[in-house]
Symmetry: C2
Subunit: 603 residues, 2 copies
């Protein structure tokens, strides 16, 4: 689905990227593997069953994304770093190793396929090597006097990046409203964007004047065929239209063209500016329509046009040629909109194979990210907030320091006893959507109410299905496990949550009892209710939890006060509970704020 949609979207010359869909495809394949193959398509595989748990599934999705970037940009190391910097909310050293393994395999397979293709055995796809936009020149030299221009480029790039994010945010909000109205509106929207893109692409080159072909052109000028640097458009022989040369190529070819050296005179100032503006707006409007689209490549194209324009304006008395300015421009816009550092650096390095430019790229990324961080959040946070996904920020918001865990625990708490009536379990599972329940032992079993542990909904459903019930509340031994295979407790296919309805229980069975003890996680993570919310968030995020039990400060009737999930940490939820905070000065705070050096984190 993704792949087909992406191919269609890219080939219809919409201003969209292919990296996003590739990452999504990689993640989807990984998620399907994480389910032990898709039952729907009959693709089950015995050895994949070992991967059927939460942690491995998350890891697989991260590795899948890494593989997607590695394949899209032929940048294996960049893929690993992208996955870690942007995708993984939970870092482990084993994850690094797995992601590296995945992308290494991708790199080797890619290299082998290139090997096959170079022998001419794959027709049209035979072009291109491991480096997509090769800008290697014998020896790039730049000196201190080139630095001010680069600094200027980086600062403006950062500003443009934050404007890009702002614009995309607004556009996506409008699209969200349209998309909610139904599938017909979505398709009309997609068609509208597509038609207006085409109109712009064919209309704008009329503005540009024809330019004389250079006498020392490396390829025939003007070119009329499939691809080339000098498009004829409507010009007389011997002339070319520079704007058409940019518009009528694929994004990849346009980037190659913009990055290449020795083409300093090929484009006119006004053409470059028009191209930049068109790309800037088209890429924001093209993202978020029904087709699967990416952001990476459009941002690179836009940035390259911007960088080249700056290079043209600064003049030719510098050592850096316009192609290098285009590379730096892409870096600045990427840094300004995506706000990654190391991974972008490596991806650009792997795209262009230009190690000597590394110090300048690092400088540009540093500055553009810093400038853009002043204004708004990074593009992935914006998109996730718009989609309403409960993504936990790595930092605790400042107002969380002033709240305790007890302040955000809500709702009626559903607990189970160590030995529970079947009817109760069914009722609670039917009436609530919680995925984890505390298990408490009460006086007949212990001297005072004791927190025994945490039981998961999926395990309860499995228990009900097995019907290991007793007439009287008797504890069962560990031999109960013999009736279950490990497979029964592995995470089931996503989207099959309503398995409860499949289980038929008689009236008699509903009155029976089941012993939950052997199936309970006896050491869940707990926090005391007076714990600061900020510190609880750190625990939740760093350890990668789904449920966090809150226990009372002083012994009360119940040994558990509540249960925290990801949703309880979301700013929206907290601000609903404590509207006072909304009005306070903490309301909007830059995401990269540095925590003050208090004692809060010293433990």
């Amino acid at each position: 689905m993704q792949i087909v949609g992406s191919i269609l979207a890219v080939s219809s010359s919409l201003n969209v990227g292919k990296a996003g869909p590739m990452v999504h495809t990689g993640a989807c394949v990984a998620a399907i593997m994480g389910q032990g193959g898709s039952k729907k398509f009959g693709l089950t595989c015995k050895w994949l069953q070992v991967l059927k748990n939460d942690r491995d599934r998350r890891d697989l999705v991260t590795c899948g994304s890494a593989a997607g970037i590695a394949a899209a940009f032929r940048a294996p190391v960049g893929g690993v770093l992208f996955a870690l910097e942007e995708m993984a909310s939970w870092w482990r050293s084993a994850l690094l190793w797995r992601a590296f393994f995945t992308t290494a395999v991708v790199a080797i397979v890619l290299r082998a396929l290139i090997d096959v293709c170079l022998r001419g055995e794959c027709g049209l796809f035979g072009k291109g090597g491991l480096i997509m936009y090769d800008v290697t020149s014998a020896n790039i030299s730049y000196h201190l006097r080139d630095v001010p221009a680069v600094l200027l480029l980086a600062v403006i790039g950062g500003l443009l990046g934050s404007i890009y994010n702002l614009l995309l945010n607004k556009v996506l909000q409008i699209y969200n409203i349209i998309n909610k109205k139904g599938i017909a509106y979505r398709i009309i929207l997609a068609c509208l964007i597509s038609v207006s893109t085409s109109c712009l692409l064919f209309g704008l080159p009329w503005i540009a004047s024809c330019r004389l072909c250079p006498s020392d052109a490396s390829e025939p000028c003007p070119t009329i065929g499939r691809s080339g640097n000098y498009k004829k458009f409507q010009c007389p022989p011997g002339y070319y239209n520079d704007l058409a040369s940019l518009f009528f190529n694929t994004n990849d070819d346009a980037i190659k063209n913009l990055f290449s050296k020795g083409t300093d005179t090929e484009f006119h100032h006004s053409s470059m500016l028009i191209f930049f503006g068109t790309c800037f707006f088209l890429s924001t409007f093209s993202y978020g329509i029904v087709a699967p689209t990416g952001l990476f490549v459009p941002v690179i194209v836009t940035g390259a046009a911007y960088g080249r324009f700056v290079g043209m304006c600064v003049g030719s008395n510098l050592n850096l040629n316009h192609g290098l300015f285009a590379v730096l421009g892409s870096a600045s816009l990427l840094g300004g909109s995506m706000r990654m550092t190391v991974s972008l650096c490596v991806i650009i390095l792997e795209l262009t194979d230009n190690l000597l430019l590394l110090p300048l790229i690092m400088l540009v990324l540093l500055i553009s990210k810093t400038v853009a961080d002043v204004f708004d959040a990074n593009i992935y946070d914006i998109i996730m907030t718009l989609k309403g996904l409960p993504y936990l920020k790595p930092h605790a918001e400042p107002y969380m320091r002033q709240l305790t865990v007890g302040d955000v625990v809500t709702g009626p708490l559903q607990i189970f006893h160590g030995i529970e009536k079947v009817g109760n379990i069914v009722h609670v599972l039917r009436t609530t959507g919680h995925n984890g329940f505390p298990v408490v032992d009460e006086p007949p079993l212990s001297s005072s109410p004791l927190l025994y542990g945490l039981i998961l909904r999926t395990h309860l459903v499995t228990l009900l299905r097995k019907k290991l019930f007793f007439k009287t509340p008797t504890p069962i031994g560990l031999d109960a496990f013999l009736q279950f295979s490990a497979d029964d407790f592995t995470t089931k296919d996503l989207g099959l949550c309503d398995q409860l309805d499949d289980i038929e229980l008689s009236e008699e069975e509903m009155e029976m009892f089941v012993d939950l003890h052997p199936f309970t996680n006896t050491s869940p993570y707990t926090v005391v209710e007076t714990m600061s919310l900020a510190k609880a968030l750190i625990l939740f995020r760093e350890v990668g939890l789904r449920h966090l039990l809150v226990i009372p400060k002083v012994s009360e009737r119940l040994p558990v006060v509540g249960i925290l999930t990801r949703h309880d940490f979301m700013p929206e939820h907290i601000q609903n509970l404590h509207p006072r905070l909304l009005r306070s000065r903490w309301r909007r705070y830059p995401t990269s704020c540095k925590e003050s050096p208090t004692m809060a984190y010293v433990s």
Copy 2:
């Protein structure tokens, strides 16, 4: 100190690296900055005071290490990754950004200095660009039939790496015994190593026979001057000694020589094998003597010699030249001994500027790490275990699953009351070495004993110094803070722990009371005593704690059972407490064991 020692050691042609000392120097500078400048050398700086807390100090040390690698290898991105993969026991996204900032500055300064040097303003140091061992060739091509040779190289490289670690472990154990005997023994040892190194370097070239100079040599042959590929040694004019050419160069030149293409016929099989063997043993024996030494460069040289030897043996019917085999050999030995993946990959990439070789380098690193992991731990773990540093492994050992937190809590627990007698505090601080103490409120202040929080030793010492005492046990308000500046509570200079003795307290003062409430961390992380040790370790490590309070399962007289520190999680400590575990099958387990997909981590 470090720098001078390192320069002396490298220039005395010991087989040692410069990266280690550079990393250490970077970390030391960072640690001094973390103390707000060194008071000893009068280098205090006002704005550095904000960095005076634990977390920032750790971050600074990590960034310092990154800067060290970036400067030693001119590999800024590799430096960031090295610091994250190997040094940081605690990962945060802000740390990535800081490390990136540090190395970007290093890269830019380096580039600027190179710029200055290229104008010939720094004498002898003027050589070398941003890429240390440039092996770029117009187009490297390799095909599927080259892969078996590379696989063989990687497997043997992994084996050699684990043997290297084993040997280094034994050598360091012997050195530890010698070093304990006193400074005289240490110096004798260093001299012994130095003399025997010199003897080997001058003695071994006699074995090699003289070789005829090639007619198309790119530089004068034989060379007699400071540096060159063809050393004359004792050969007649027109001949050169290939072994001398390797031995009588600096490590850097030797690596350049081995990595370079077009020198396939320069060395003889036997010379290469002798050079490899000598490097292999000399580098293990040279590490760990008194001089500050590194491991990176010796391993690269040894690996390059090994790779080139394999390249020679495999024969010339492959597409890969011997220089590329040398690069892959270095990669395999680095992978086999240091066991890093992404960072090594990027460092090698930045050292050699050879992006096309990336798939092969990834393949080699994957295989050599996997092979070596079967046999022993990575070299940094070995060194840290030998030095007795309490370094927490990222993985919980399997036997920790079978223990609860309550099983490892030891010793008499020292607690303070919310309002405590000064005499008591002084007594406890004098008689114990703990750094954190639980604060408990007892009945006059609360209805039942309540855990109020955790107070740090340094804060207690500050309180005693300020002498904010009362005749009766009265609570003080928050205005107590007005008497303190934030500076009073910042972490003090390392090594000044005995500040307690400086405080003079009269008999009368010892009988007075102090209110600890305002100075206590009221939300320390806690675990219930029945929590599995493995899960507590994950919490401890992922959140980056120093103290973890253990609270009882059922309400007892005391609301706290004990306090866990880093030492309580060390395998040695646990095995002392539970010698039964020593005899069980869990005793020795490969470090990279994959945890079985139980429910233990799902929460």
